[in-house]
Assembly symmetry: C2
Homo-oligomer: 281 residues x 2
Amino acid sequence: MNRTVFFVSESTGITAETLGHSLLSQFDTIDFEQVYMPYINTDLRALALTQRMQEAAERDGARPIVFATMLNNEIREILKNGNCFYMELFEGFVEPLSVELCVPPSRKSGQSHAITKPNFYTKRIEAINFAMANDDGIRPDNFHRADVVLTGVSRSGKTPTCLYLAMHYGLRSANYPITEEDFERGDVPQLVWDCRHKLFALIIDPQRLQLIREERRPNSPYASLARCQDDIRQAQQIYKRLQVPVLNTTTQSIEEISSQIMKMLKDNLDNGIEPLTGKTP
Amino acid sequence: MNRTVFFVSESTGITAETLGHSLLSQFDTIDFEQVYMPYINTDLRALALTQRMQEAAERDGARPIVFATMLNNEIREILKNGNCFYMELFEGFVEPLSVELCVPPSRKSGQSHAITKPNFYTKRIEAINFAMANDDGIRPDNFHRADVVLTGVSRSGKTPTCLYLAMHYGLRSANYPITEEDFERGDVPQLVWDCRHKLFALIIDPQRLQLIREERRPNSPYASLARCQDDIRQAQQIYKRLQVPVLNTTTQSIEEISSQIMKMLKDNLDNGIEPLTGKTP
């Protein structure tokens, strides 16, 4: 069974998309055709969208689902009158919240993802630049300036995770790749030991690692299964000595790993371990 | 007035946080203390959180707001019984959606940000790697492999925007920095012209640019206001010749710019201009 889903918003549509995805993930037996519809901010655009709804309804043999965050009543009514199952994601919450806070809502659209807090926005952009400049162990002498340091073997997911931590949470993220050199020494440099309180290790299934490395350097010793297994085994021995949390990137997304890291950093903070300069958005 | 807000979830908390932020942005006169509470997946953790709610209520002189996406009824009841204004973000939608789809919800938590669609997840990770490898015009000969190419003067926001496009939408993003060399020639290389159908230009307010460059290279000619003004003026002349969309990073966040770019790429696609290999998540 196939159903079309529209994520609709007057501005970026990120909120509609995020909550919509979460809700759809509860119905994983259905194949959803997902259409992203930001900037539906005029009657004309809304009307054109109702036309697309009708087409989808005819194609699927069932009306499309619409997840919307509309603040403008007129545009909302146009969409609701289309051939669709309309779910307004904001409305049920704005009024009760307004009563609780004793303040009327601004009703301005596009506030969620605008630069409404310049300080936190600047912090995020700076964190991204920091992550770019401190990727792949380029500057271990900068680790003391980082909020979080990741370690792992080549292609275990350090870079995407660092970038997510920077982009989403504004954390200054650096990473240290564990290589042959560390295995030979049986240890990582002192600069890595020094940041153990904010160090997290990544692990990955050797079979999965082989696939990833194979794409990067086909038929190389680097991509062989034996080498991947060996790298992981030796890395795990070092992690054990370091006694740092180990997270698995085979089964977990960068979002999941990042939120776990955030939680552990915060728990450390609550327990009085080393201040965390990053903060939640 | 100060109010504490808890974003609570059994797993990552990203959905609670995204919708919660959107809702709070409607009440911009209030100063919210925002606390991120992922992985509240046991009775014990829920009880500890009710204790924190009580502390917040006493500190603020008003009960905290809780934005939660809880699928477990027992844990939800514990939180609801705490001293808080509890808003369940999932519940109102899951049941009606279930009726519309004629399928019961899975009630599994943590599905929204897990790797439920390995193909799209792999695409995102590959897009991040592509963005890293094609940052700052390192490989203009790779532009034909990109889904989107950004251009702009140094520090106008190309890198963070490319990374967001890659991370969020899975778009293979590259960028070309406009420099002195292009100004002298009065033009950009042919490889940039060749990707005009997927090229977007970034512009930034010269005063803002000066601040950013000043942080990077204090008191340098590069960071002087005159140089920033000149760079922007000359870049704009080139944009005019290229006739590409120009987006302003002074006033718009990387989320806003990215979603506009996605929309324009999709509009091009709808109009039969060059296929877009990236897709919405």
